[in-house]
């Protein structure tokens, strides 16, 4: 469950996120999207509750703060789902990448043994050593 505290005087909202529902990666993801829109600070315990402090870059009305909070929660949901999907597809993704890399490898060169190679034949008798050839005649 998420708890939200709006502080109009400080121009900020504090969203308490249950890390069992939204992992830290999802909170980081949503926070990065909001770096341009607001000042953010993270606090709390990532194993229990994460505090996301969103502060308006300009002076915001209560309605605008509410809107900022709602947009952040939507983004949080978006990143939470993305994270969940990426986790559940992790194995198949690894398999697909592995398969793609494997098929991109060059085929192994087969070593063929040529038993009857031409160079081994000595039709002209060139390979016979000189001593051997002429000693016979003595």
């Amino acid at each position: 469950m998420k708890k939200v505290k709006i502080d109009k005087i400080k121009n900020q909202i504090i969203v308490t996120v249950d890390s069992k529902l939204y992992p830290l990666e999802a909170v980081y993801g949503a926070a990065y999207v909001f770096l341009d829109k607001a000042y953010l600070r993270l606090d709390g315990n990532p194993k229990k509750e994460i505090l996301v402090i969103l502060k308006g870059k300009k002076e915001l009305t209560e309605k605008q703060l509410e809107k900022l909070k709602d947009e952040f929660l939507n983004e949080l949901l978006n990143y939470g789902l993305r994270y969940k999907i990426s986790e559940s597809n992790k194995k198949i993704r690894e398999y697909v990448v592995g398969k793609a890399l494997f098929s991109a490898m060059p085929p192994e060169i087969e070593e063929t043994e040529e038993k009857d190679e031409d160079w081994q034949k000595d039709d002209l008798g060139i390979a016979v050593p000189w001593e051997e050839k002429y000693e016979k005649g003595k």
Partner: protein, 69 residues
């Protein structure tokens, strides 16, 4: 003027904070202390033009640096 920011080490790392201080070195004098659970950043001699926003901008920059590792 002195400002102190405390950043939770569960979310921010020292490397990212140091990189942020380096990026902001023209705007203030920084000293960083690791207090165990928190990283304490002390800002001194803050540039007059940015004194109202430097704290928040520093935190945003540090968060973006965490992402980059």
């Amino acid at each position: 003027m002195i400002k102190i920011i405390e950043l939770n080490k569960n979310f921010y790392n020292l490397k990212a904070v140091k990189r942020t201080a380096k990026a902001y070195k023209e705007l203030a004098r920084f000293s960083i202390k690791d207090t165990g659970k928190k990283i304490e950043v002390t800002m001194k001699n803050i540039d007059e033009d940015v004194k109202d926003v430097i704290e928040d901008e520093f935190c945003n920059y540090a968060l973006s640096e965490v992402k980059d590792g």
